[in-house]
């Protein structure tokens, strides 16, 4: 019998929505403290150069300037999310390695003075030869960017099964090369940080971070300040999407400026700085080869990836691991080889971005699957169902697929989109625009992954306190980026304690008061932090029930919590309120109700570092998306009309929140990735560092999106739930590309699919057919 919940599974408006709608919620950039200074960063105009001399003589004498710092004013400790790969510094002292690299910083009484002071700092550089193409940078003799032997930051190979034998057994083989460019996150709120180092030696930092607790560790390392002297507050923020994972140099810069000036300092990127020096989606060139049997079964897959790491290590090594793993995960392919190079260049460096290497690989894999289907005269939906992973299976790479609704996702999308009829419809050759429909699937970790920070590390923790009036304090170290995690987590607590959302005081991402959590990344908050708050709420409920059991003279196992009451099952009139039980425990038993929950995520392990074998996630999320497009064959313009999205989310805790994630993933990001976005770098300099030249989807670009939840009820997820944040946009671009092929018979393998590229491909096809 399906459990009946009082709040889980209901469409609930997010808890912070009204204060956002009223313009009341304070973001990092809205924070003002008495005496606050404005910090500005001097950035390198060169892609590669030696810093010979920095002259601050004029700048330091400008009235209103309170502090100027260069590398000499910092501890000059290298940092990276994984310290083993650290080669970045908050201010560079010896060399600059990309256009936008940070060289010096100023704190002044207002922005005009800070900006003027920056212009008065003179830096003598010795330009060095630079390299921008990772394939050039790999060659012997290429300009060396770091001290290391060459520019290859990582070369990893993964072999599962016997790929040669697999290809020998294949009846059809396809191969091709795909390219995914640099993509900017374009969070509407630019990255910012307010830091205040007070006289007691305490550093308080309000940052647009999605990893508050790890940020405290990083700041402690890079500044040489003990962790108990640093408080990180994750303020409400205007989007993150991976960009705010790990420390940004401006977090450290704001701190050092405050230490030097003795005043609070706010550093907020300009929009231009967001494009120049924020993280990007790692550009990848992907060569991929797939072999299938005549019945459509994929039997072997091989991939070679060259990734532009940019100037510094941030998350490239992990991204490569995640990207490579998808080859062996999405479908049950027995023989796999992955060969990946991560290469330094003098370009802006990459970081996490919704999908973590997966969108780049999925674009290649899912187009190639359509090519195989065509070679075998099979329907693309059918070949996907034939190869789809099944529940309770193990992939060639050792991933234990538990809950898996991929087949249902494909079926649902095919039915709702009237797939078969549309695929059968005869295309009118002369008619423009021409319609087409295409599909793509994806797998992604639905619980976070175990490869960061240590060999067994994917935890969250939480505390639930019940006050004497029955109100509740929920303390979680998680990060609310706008994705809605606070609402989801509060719903879990409300369900377990039988209370309303309005009774909840949610404190999140504050390292002073909240227990440790690794933060919001890897689509893990619902699963990982969700389990932590579930355990905390269950412990608090156990304490409540012990008190209520005595008050009601009823056994604990007969008690239920609902509507703010604890009642005896079957006898709703026999109850005490949560308030009465909490107050009784507090006042007459000296035992305030405090529940603690830690999710140590015992169901996954860090994959073997040499072979890559192992179950990296505790749960896997799946999706199938179908796109319907119209292509104007005269202009190459693509109009996306419809999207049907079938997502295996385990259980939709808040269906409204899940819809928001999926619609946003498809429209605001997926369509941009597919059709528009490309951070253009020439000589290492970003050419389109503004929204006029770097286009993201507007309301006019939006299309109809229908979402379908496949609730596979994961055995480890809270109430069966798995993550959905990243999955929302991962397959969208491939679905659009396959729909374009259905319409006009060409694939554009290099993203984005601009009208110019598509028109060229259409013309080439017409020429070759003549």
């Amino acid at each position: 019998m399906e459990e009946v919940y009082h709040i889980i599974g209901k469409k609930v408006p997010r808890v912070d929505a009204l204060s956002k709608a009223m313009g009341d919620l304070k973001y990092v950039s809205d924070l003002y403290l008495p005496g606050i200074l404005v910090g500005k960063v001097l950035r390198s105009p060169l892609p590669h150069g030696k810093i010979l001399h920095i002259d601050i003589f004029k700048a330091v004498r400008l009235p209103g300037v309170k502090a100027i710092i260069t590398a000499e004013d910092t501890p000059q400790r290298k940092f990276c999310m994984n310290p083993a790969w650290a080669n970045n510094m908050i201010l560079q002292g010896e060399k600059v390695r990309y256009v936008g690299d940070q060289v010096a910083a100023v704190a002044a009484i207002d922005e005009d003075i800070a900006t003027e002071a920056i212009s008065l700092i003179k830096v003598d550089y010795e330009p060095l030869p630079a390299v921008f193409d990772p394939e050039e940078a790999m060659k012997p003799g290429a300009p060396k960017i770091h001290q290391e032997e060459n520019n290859i930051a990582l070369h990893s190979v993964r072999n599962f099964g016997d790929v040669e034998q697999g290809f020998r057994e294949a009846d059809t083989i396809c191969e091709g090369t795909f390219y995914s460019p640099a993509i900017a996150h374009c969070c509407l709120e630019p990255r910012g940080c307010v830091a205040y180092y007070d006289l007691s030696g305490k550093l308080s930092v309000w940052s647009t971070t999605q990893t508050p607790h790890p940020l405290r560790e990083e700041l402690s390392e890079v500044l040489g300040i003990p962790q108990n002297k640093i408080s990180v507050f994750q303020a409400p923020m205007g989007g993150a999407f991976g960009a705010r994972m790990g420390m940004d140099p401006i977090d450290g810069i704001a701190a050092v400026l405050s230490m030097k000036s003795g005043r609070p300092v706010k550093v907020v990127n300009t929009r231009e700085e967001e494009f120049l020096s924020s993280r990007i989606r790692y550009p990848m060139r992907v060569w991929i080869k797939s072999g299938a049997k005549g019945n459509g079964r994929l039997i072997a897959r091989e991939i070679k990836v060259v990734t532009d790491n940019g100037a510094y290590n941030h998350e490239g090594q992990y991204i490569m691991g995640n990207a490579g793993s998808k080859l062996a995960q999405l479908y049950a392919v027995p023989n796999i080889r992955y060969d990946g190079f991560l290469v330094y260049t003098n370009n802006v460096y990459g970081g996490a971005f919704r999908g973590y290497g997966n969108p780049q690989i999925t674009y290649a894999m899912e187009i190639q699957l359509d090519q195989i289907a065509e070679a075998l005269h099979m329907d693309p939906a059918v070949i996907r169902m034939i190869n789809a992973n099944k529940p309770n299976s193990v992939t060639a790479s050792g991933c234990k697929i538990g809950s898996c609704g991929l087949t249902e996702c494909i079926k649902t999308v095919a039915e709702s989109s009237k797939w078969e009829g549309k695929k059968r419809a005869k295309k009118e050759e002369q008619f423009s625009p021409r319609r087409g429909i295409g599909m793509a699937c994806m797998i992604h970790g639905g619980s976070g992954v175990k490869f960061f920070w240590g060999k067994d590390c994917n935890f969250s923790s939480a505390i639930v306190k019940i006050n004497t009036d029955g109100s509740i304090d929920l303390l979680t170290g998680s990060a609310e980026l706008g994705q809605g995690s606070n609402t989801t987590l509060a719903m879990i607590v409300a369900e377990i304690l039988g209370v309303s959302l309005s009774s909840m005081n949610i404190i999140n991402g504050d390292t002073d008061t909240t227990p440790a959590c690794l933060g919001a990344w890897g689509s893990r908050q619902t699963f990982s932090a969700g389990n932590a708050v579930r355990y905390a709420a269950l412990e608090a409920r156990k304490m409540l029930f012990e008190v209520a059991s005595e008050l009601l003279e009823a056994p604990i196992q007969d008690l239920q919590a609902r509507d703010g009451n604890i009642f005896v099952s079957g006898t709703p009139t026999k109850y005490v309120t949560v308030k009465q039980a909490a107050a009784e425990s507090w006042r007459n038993r000296g035992n305030p109700i405090i529940g603690k929950g830690v999710n140590v995520d015992p169901w996954s392990i860090q994959p073997d570092l040499k072979t890559g074998y192992g179950n990296v996630s505790s749960a896997y999320a799946f999706a199938a998306q179908a796109a319907e497009v119209e292509v104007d064959t005269e202009t190459g313009f693509v109009n996306v009309i419809n999207f049907w999205c079938g997502h295996d989310v385990g259980k939709a805790i808040n269906p409204l929140g899940v819809e928001c994630q999926i619609e946003g993933g498809v429209v605001s990001m997926g369509l941009g990735y597919a059709l528009m976005e490309n951070l253009i770098l020439e000589g290492g300099k970003v050419q389109n560092a503004n929204f006029a030249d770097y286009k993201i989807p507007t309301m006019l670009d939006s299309c109809q999106v229908k979402t379908y939840f496949i609730e596979s009820m994961d055995e480890h997820g809270p109430f069966g739930a798995k993550g959905v944040g990243e999955p929302a946009m991962i397959p969208s671009a491939a679905a659009v590309a396959n729909a374009i092929y259905d319409a006009v018979g060409v694939w554009v393998t290099e993203l984005p699919i601009t009208p110019e590229k598509l028109l060229k491909a259409i013309k080439e096809k017409q020429t070759s057919e003549r």
Partner: protein, 154 residues
Amino acid sequence: MDKVPITISVNGESHKALVKPSTTLLDFLREHLFLTGTKKGCNTGECGACTVILDGRVVNSCLILAVDANGSQVITVEGLGDAEHPHPLQKAFVEHGAIQCGYCSPGMLISSKALLDRNPNPSEAEIKMTLAGNLCRCGGYLKIIEAIRSVAKT
């Protein structure tokens, strides 16, 4: 540079201030009046996060100098409603899930209000055309359109 005296009415309240001639209306609202509901997303008139109503016109407040708004009436998101009586659009945005990170929401709401003031029952095409200058990176716009239409119908 010498500061200039200005008088601007914001959400019905008159404010006198001395501002630098280079101060934008956006910075005046945020840094002089601490009305931080109006957001700075790009400061170049491309994202719409700073949208306000200036003497009945919808403008990007980052592109207007405060001195040029001297003597004008400005409506910001804080002026749409209050805690007890949110504007119907504010309620609809909340209920329809039209808000995620919320950074675009003030600008979206102001643009929507101006649209409905002008045309109480706009078509979907009119909504899209009018709000095309307000960027959102989280939500995909559909719930915003839904929210506006729900208010338009009533």
